[in-house]
């Protein structure tokens, strides 16, 4: 009975895996189809004459490297910002004895209910007035701290024994040292989840970076690829998919590296939170 159940679960998982992997497979498969064969052989799952031409084209001719660099800079600042600001805010709220601390958290969490798209036009207008459109600032500043990250780390801080911090105070540490040397390391599983989620979210973000940039100087990968592969009347799918494949590599690597921490962070948060 048990082995039958296990087999059923295994089959279900394989089906799920196939469904999830299929778009990725199509992406890679289209990326290695030669020019002109993409549309004529659209439904050929195994390309008849695979070629790396699209990759060569995108890396050598387009401003692909620039997009990659922009994405890396923007995402690095956004991730670091979220780690720094979300953890300090979460710690301050979790450890505050003032009655309004919970109210602050509730207000913060309530902002998660506002769809990001509603804020698009006000955000654009604001950045325009600040003369920040088409700069790194426009891509970094609005995303430096995410309410969900504050909430997520807050739940985690609650599970860190307060005595540990008190022991540090008695040992001779001030608030800053206690936070940086005792609390911050204790939050590692939560921080890895926050870093990975923020990375994935921002690395793949399209709409806002698309609106907030006008030139290749600051365009990020998803925006740049979409524009670069767009011909006058058509889309160069092979080129687009080659770019998307390259863009996906860092996210896959990041997940592979931090998979253990991500799963642990999420499950521990679930149990403790």
């Amino acid at each position: 009975m048990r082995s039958r159940n296990t087999k059923l679960v295994a089959v279900a998982l394989l089906v799920l895996l196939a469904i999830n992997l299929f778009p990725l497979y199509v992406m890679v498969s289209v990326s290695v189809k030669g020019e002109g064969t993409v549309l004529s052989h659209l439904y050929d799952l195994i390309p008849s004459e695979p070629t790396l031409e699209n990759y060569r084209e995108i890396v050598s001719h387009g401003p692909f490297a620039r997009y990659f660099f922009n994405s890396t800079v923007v995402v690095a600042f956004v991730v670091l910002g979220n780690l720094a600001f979300a953890s300090t805010a979460a710690y301050a709220i979790a450890r505050s004895r003032r009655k309004y601390a919970n109210l602050m958290l509730a207000l913060l969490v309530s902002t998660m209910m506002i769809p990001k798209h509603i804020m698009m036009i006000p955000l654009f207008t604001l950045l325009l007035r600040m003369n920040l459109i088409d700069t790194y600032y426009a891509l970094v500043l609005p995303f430096l701290v995410d309410a969900f990250n504050v909430f997520f780390i807050h739940q985690y801080v609650k599970s860190v024994p307060r005595e540990m911090e008190e022991a540090a105070f008695v040992d001779g540490a001030g608030l800053f040292t206690t936070f940086t040397r005792i609390v911050f390391p204790a939050l590692k599983p939560a921080l890895v989840v926050v870093a990975t989620n923020t990375f994935l979210l921002n690395w793949n973000s399209f709409l806002l970076p698309f609106i907030l940039t006008n030139s290749d100087k600051v365009r990020t990968l998803p925006v740049g690829l979409a524009i670069f592969s767009q011909g006058e009347h058509s889309v160069d799918w092979g080129l687009l998919m080659a770019g998307a494949t390259l863009a996906a590599i860092p996210t896959i690597v990041a997940f592979a590296f931090f998979q253990k921490h991500i799963v642990r962070g999420i499950t521990e948060g679930a149990v403790r939170g």
Binding site: M164, E166, A167, V170, D171, G172, A173, A186
Partner: protein, 366 residues
Amino acid sequence: MAQVVLEKVSKVFDGDVVAVDEASIEVADREFVVLVGPSGCGKSTFLRMIAGLEEASSGTISIDGRVVNDVAPKDRDIAMVFQNYALYPHMSVFDNMAFGLKLRKYPKDEIKQRVEDAAQILGIQELLDRKPKALSGGQRQRVAVGRAIVRKPKVFLFDEPLSNLDAKLRVQMRTEISKLHSKLKATMLYVTHDQVEAMTMGDRIVVLKDGLIQQVADPMTLYDSPVNKFVAGFIGSPAMNFIDATLKDDGGLYVDEGTFKAKLPSRMENMLRPHVGKQITFGVRPEAIHDEASDDFAGESASFKATVEVVEPMGNETVVYITTGKTPLVARLITRREIKPETEIQLVMDMRRVHFFDPTDEKTIV
């Protein structure tokens, strides 16, 4: 090393919850004082105020002659051992112990020397490279104590450090902390809810209830001369028996419990005479009740009959739960005679060791 003085120290939470109420005590240099009381009596708050982890609402706290009310914990020259060890999980045992010294910018050689010395005292030399999660409860507690002793502070504070250990380890660590006290010759304040720890470890014991200090005394004084019914009932295991009776005068004073009467020693008469004709509570410790058949007991005593309910043979003694028909009692009998439940037993009460309490304010009369 240092003296710790608290003068009328109070702690009020949220404007109306009084955790500690005008507590005053002087802890002498090198003294081992145990704070004991039931859960929620304010004993931990008391300690945390000395550590600087809670602010006193009123009163003054001095360490070594200096008022420390507004001094940060790190500048009070104290060390504290917490109930749940509070080790830093990402640091090795060595780093856990060295953390305080590193923050105080001690030279590396001295840090190493001090940590190794402390590790040797506590027998944890082999554990210095391990992380806390690879240690047992007892080992973690040793590291927590080690972290305190490397700093050589003026005052050690222990907040129920043994509560998370199993019974055997608790007894072992108890004696080790006592040994440590005589070795370090330091001032120590120790919080516990366990009256056995309090009795066995403290030079003096502070008994707390509802934020109020009930009595401060050495263990034997506390045991023999409790100031009120609470202290009498809290100290001692099994606890003191309390019997409600009427005080009567029939040429000599005696108490009438309803099912038995007991004549009082003449030395108590003067103190008790104003209560004649009134209800009174008298207390007798379980070991002051003897088995008439086998104990060689002579003296001012009262004989009474009781029904045995539960028998707990401990080997060296037998704890017997009995009832007089009106009052349930516990007796510790030094007897090897077989006592069976649901039988009648003839017992004697040592009246020289009886305590009398005023039923209205529960204070000791004699």
